[in-house]
């Protein structure tokens, strides 16, 4: 019983799932025989069950004080979760002296005893003995299986490097997450992944670009990876979810800085649950935990690591999405940028990035071209990260029911609708321009009366040539 949800992906959907030997049982030749006596680990003959039996221990390791991504990764590289836990109980595996400068998160097993044990812990940089309870003390007080059972019942899964459902793209990542908690269906990550990231303080245009990218990429069978933040991230997810009912579409992957059951930002709680039900939410943060500030850049590295290509839609100078882009570049993952208006401060960082090298993309087709996926020809060959089969279907069927982006077909009517407009409408369209514009500016620029200008804007909005956000008008692409 891995996730306790109806959508359990592994046994049914994944051809590479259960029939492979569980690698976490293999290395080091540790003896599992005595584990059951001491901590109730192992002793079961069924190997696939054993992987799930290890899950509580993997999760419990992540809950230890000072067990950050780096420490976890090191532990799980050397031992299986059960082994590591047993070693901790024996006192053979102690808390490593941490790198300085990090603030530790408190051990949180949600147990009364455990919560009381937090009090003494201070900054992570303090020696283990002064920083609070040792791992052994904490481990002795906790029953990982009972603790984890609650989370598992809530549909939360855990995976770690070495497990077959661990995202393939992260296996060779230089900073791979030791443990990943997830909700939803990890199978979506087997599709080619494209990260769509950008600023939280996005313009209307940026959000609509992100929405269209998310929608059209998802419809083309791409897994849209993003951080569920306000602005661009959320718009990309919303776009991907808008075609989720399409059988051919791939659900999005959301990478969180908080626990997978702690929607953040709270305004995106609804979106969050939709991602869980249609795609997958991932986080290396323990369930139930709010996000620490340092988790966000750490989360960004996972977004970059998962993606075959990172698209930056809009970023202020020094924005967090540039961290994602940097992480991608450091991993040799391709980065593309959606160009923005030169005067727009929301595009200052992304335009700088564009200037520095990565090429531009205008729409989903450009992204697919960059990935080498030829959508229209039907000769689809996504990056072979996964064995072909299960989720693949005909690209022709991947078109969303809604009208697709114009650029895809290079339609010739670009501007033709604008050309058929009357004199007043043309003047208003020119006055609005591509930057957010107020009615008062339109009136001043055109010299029309307030009534005429606002009537014309309403008409243009109805035809989709301009769009409105609060009191601001902006031209939409001519399609």
């Amino acid at each position: 019983m891995s996730a306790g949800r109806g959508d359990q992906p592994e046994p049914a959907d994944r051809p590479d799932g259960r029939d492979q030997p569980d690698r976490d049982d293999q290395p080091d030749g540790h003896d599992h025989g005595d584990a059951g006596d001491q901590s109730g680990v192992g002793g079961h003959p069924d190997r696939s069950d054993r992987a799930d039996r290890a899950a509580p221990f993997a999760a419990a390791l992540a809950a230890l004080p000072g067990a950050g991504p780096v420490v976890l990764e090191q532990i799980l590289r050397d031992w299986t979760p059960e082994d590591a836990w047993r070693r901790i109980l024996d006192g053979r595996l102690a808390r490593p002296r941490p790198p300085t400068g990090l603030v530790e998160e408190q051990p949180d097993f949600g147990l009364p005893g455990a919560s009381r044990s937090r009090s003494g812990s201070g900054p992570y940089a303090v020696g283990a003995s002064e920083a609070g309870p040792s791992w052994q003390q904490v481990a002795r007080r906790v029953d990982p299986r009972a603790w984890w059972a609650r989370h598992a019942a809530a549909g939360i899964g855990v995976t770690w490097a070495g497990r077959p459902d661990y995202p393939a793209a992260l296996v060779d990542d230089p900073e791979r997450p030791g443990v990943l908690f997830w909700r939803g269906d990890l199978g979506h990550l087997a599709r080619p992944c494209v990260a769509v990231v950008g600023t939280r303080r996005a313009t209307h245009d940026g959000r609509s670009v992100a929405f269209e990218l998310g929608r059209d990429l998802a419809a083309a069978g791409i897994c849209v990876v993003s951080g569920l933040a306000l602005g661009i991230d959320g718009a990309a997810h919303a776009g991907a979810l808008s075609v989720a009912s399409c059988s051919s579409a791939t659900g999005p992957a959301g990478i969180a800085a908080s626990g997978v059951d702690v929607p953040y930002p709270r305004r995106h709680a609804g979106l969050w649950e939709q991602v869980v039900s249609s795609g997958v939410m991932l986080s290396e943060t323990l369930p139930g935990r709010p996000p620490h500030a340092w988790r966000f850049p750490a989360r960004n590295r996972i977004i970059a690591g998962l993606a075959a290509l990172v698209v930056v839609v809009e970023s202020h100078a020094g924005g967090g999405s540039l961290i994602t882009a940097d992480a991608a570049i450091a991993r040799g993952i391709e980065v593309r940028v959606v160009p923005g208006p030169v005067h727009s401060s929301a595009s200052a960082g992304s335009n700088q990035l564009l200037y520095d090298g990565p090429g531009p993309v205008r729409n989903a087709q450009d992204v697919l071209d960059a990935l080498g996926i030829f959508n229209d020809s039907g000769a689809t060959s996504p990056r072979p990260r996964t064995p072909p089969g299960s989720r693949q279907s005909h690209p022709g069927a991947r078109m969303p029911p809604a009208p697709g982006p114009a650029g895809r077909q290079g339609r010739p009517d670009l501007g033709s609708r604008a050309a058929s407009l009357g004199r007043e409408a043309t003047a208003v369209l020119d006055a609005v321009g591509w930057q957010p514009t107020l009615l008062s500016q339109v009136v001043d620029r055109t010299g029309l009366s307030v009534g005429a200008a606002s009537q014309t804007l309403d008409t243009l909005e109805a035809t989709g040539l301009v769009s409105r956000e609060e009191s601001w008008w902006v031209r939409s692409s001519d399609r």
Partner: protein, 510 residues
């Protein structure tokens, strides 16, 4: 031994008649003031004594009791100095009681015996129960506004005593306003470059009495537009002018040289104003607040988002009722408060310039800022207009060249007056006061206009209450072009455009 002199004290913006009774009897010399005097009133004893001695009069070395009747009302201020002195002189026999009969007295005494002005002379004179009233010389013109024939003035206690004793005559009062200096007209609308929408908004606000909210970045000209609203309003009628002058007099606001306030006043309190300063009140003296000082004029709240939200919310009920009832344990006072509210604020704390996405504020800060203006208050604004800095070309354009002639305050004010007279013809002070049950009669809709409103309602972009407000504004727009009859699509469209979606508030509902 006993003398009684009528006078008045100020409660709110109205005077209350008071009788000052002085009893002088043999005994150990003493001076007691009874009848709920406050500190400034009790100090009258020392001022009166010094003034009498300076004026060559005698301080009675007897037991003196001053009673301020009715005793249940708290007395405040120095305006009772003069009646106390006169009553004391009469009771002491230095003046004949019959000689002061029929006179009321109002005035503060200086230590040298001079008679000084007090605030609120206009309402005080209105209230006193006496055939003639003596006021400080510099307040004579103000007093003459309400009782031109019965006002007398004296420069000092010494000359007043001489007049009462019959040694001198009353000095002639100079009641003609000095050189009928028209009240400053205020800044002109033709100074505003561009801003056609903002210009229309102030015109509609003035014509229909619709409250106006201007939202935009610093330097967009919000304050500039707001300051031009009073100039567009018609001059006050005599009754209104006296009402306004009475309030300003009571509040101690400096009156214009012509005393009578003929132009609609504009008050612009700073955003640090307390609720009491805005609404009126106070512990002893119930003083009218800025809201009442803007009665029949414009209350301009600049940087609306910086006002504490509890201060702003105190405005909600007075804006609806046109008056404010301030209640304290000792007294309740009704202050008039029929104002045109004009407010200006930034769209967010950083004053974003370029629309969505260019703002540097944290999301939470932006919501907090917008939340200062509560939904109900936002709903009071029939006109909500987003303005931005004018284009550079517009700023630099010279009058003669490519810029269309901009209308001056005079031209627009004429239209406003015409529109207001149309509204008055329907029996309303202004269109903003149009009751909703008369909307179908006064503001019927042409079919196209009705369809547009129906669409907006169905889209949820307009609420039922918003619908009423839009129709009122549309009525004003039609009145401004002098068109009676059903409202056109253009009227309704403009009215909707003047009700912008600020702070993501569709129609006042967040």
């Amino acid at each position: 031994v006993l003398a009684s002199v009528p006078s008045a004290i100020l409660i709110g913006v109205h005077g209350t008649p008071i009788s000052v009774e002085v009893h002088v009897s043999p005994g150990i010399p003493s001076f007691t003031v009874v009848g709920l005097p406050d500190a400034s009133c009790r100090e009258a004893r020392d001022r009166v004594r010094a003034a009498m001695l300076s004026s060559g009069l005698q301080w009675p070395q007897r037991r003196v009791t001053v009673n301020l009747a009715p005793t249940g009302v708290r007395k405040s201020g120095a305006g009772l100095d003069l009646p106390i002195a006169v009553a004391l002189l009469a009771a002491d026999g230095q003046l004949r009681v019959e000689a002061v009969a029929g006179f009321a007295f109002i005035g503060e005494l200086g230590l040298d015996g001079s008679i000084r002005g007090v605030p609120g002379v206009l309402p005080l004179v209105d209230a006193v129960r006496a055939a003639r009233v003596v006021v400080p010389a510099r307040c004579a013109r103000e007093a003459a506004l309400v009782r031109p024939d019965s006002v007398r003035a004296a420069p000092s206690l010494r000359s007043l005593v001489a007049i009462v004793r019959g040694e001198e005559g009353w000095p002639r009062l100079d009641l003609d306003p000095p050189g009928v200096a028209a009240d400053a007209a205020g800044p002109d609308l033709s100074d505003v470059r561009g801003q056609a929408l903002g210009r229309l908004a102030v015109e509609v606000a003035a014509a229909g009495g619709h409250h106006l909210l201007l939202v935009g970045p610093p330097g967009a000209g919000k304050t500039m537009l707001a300051e031009r609203v009073p100039g567009l309003l018609p001059p006050l009628e005599l009754k209104q002018a006296i009402e306004v002058t009475r309030i300003h007099s009571a509040a101690g606001v400096a009156l214009p040289p012509g005393i009578l306030i003929r132009r609609p006043p504009m008050r612009a309190p700073h955003h640090s104003a307390s609720p009491v300063a805005l609404i009126g009140g106070g512990s002893t003296l119930m003083r009218p607040g800025e809201l009442s000082c803007a009665h029949h004029g414009v209350l301009f709240l600049d940087e609306l988002g910086e006002f504490p939200s509890d201060v702003l919310d105190t405005l909600r009920q007075p804006l609806e009722e046109g008056h404010v009832l301030v209640c304290r344990a000792r007294a309740s006072v009704l202050f008039p408060a029929r104002v045109l509210l004009v407010a200006a604020m930034n769209a967010c704390p950083c004053g974003r310039e370029g629309g969505p996405g260019s703002c540097r504020c944290r999301d939470a800060a932006r919501f907090r800022y917008a939340a200062r203006v509560s939904g109900p208050l936002l709903d009071r604004f029939d006109l909500r207009v987003m303005v931005d800095r004018p284009d550079v070309a517009e700023l630099l354009a010279v009058e003669q060249t490519d810029r269309p002639m901009v209308e001056s305050t005079e031209v627009v004010a004429r239209r406003v007056a015409a529109a207001r007279s149309l509204a008055a013809g329907r029996g309303m002070s202004c269109n903003a006061a149009l009751p909703s049950d008369r909307l179908d009669e006064v503001a019927p809709l042409q079919p196209a206009a009705r369809r547009l409103l129906e669409t907006r309602l169905r889209q949820g972009r307009l609420s039922a209450r918003g619908l009423h407000r839009v129709r009122r504004v549309a009525r004003t727009l039609a009145d401004l072009v002098g068109r009676e009859g059903p409202l056109t699509l253009d009227d309704v469209c403009s009215a909707l455009a003047l009700r912008a979606d600020v702070f993501g508030a569709e129609d006042g509902t967040r």
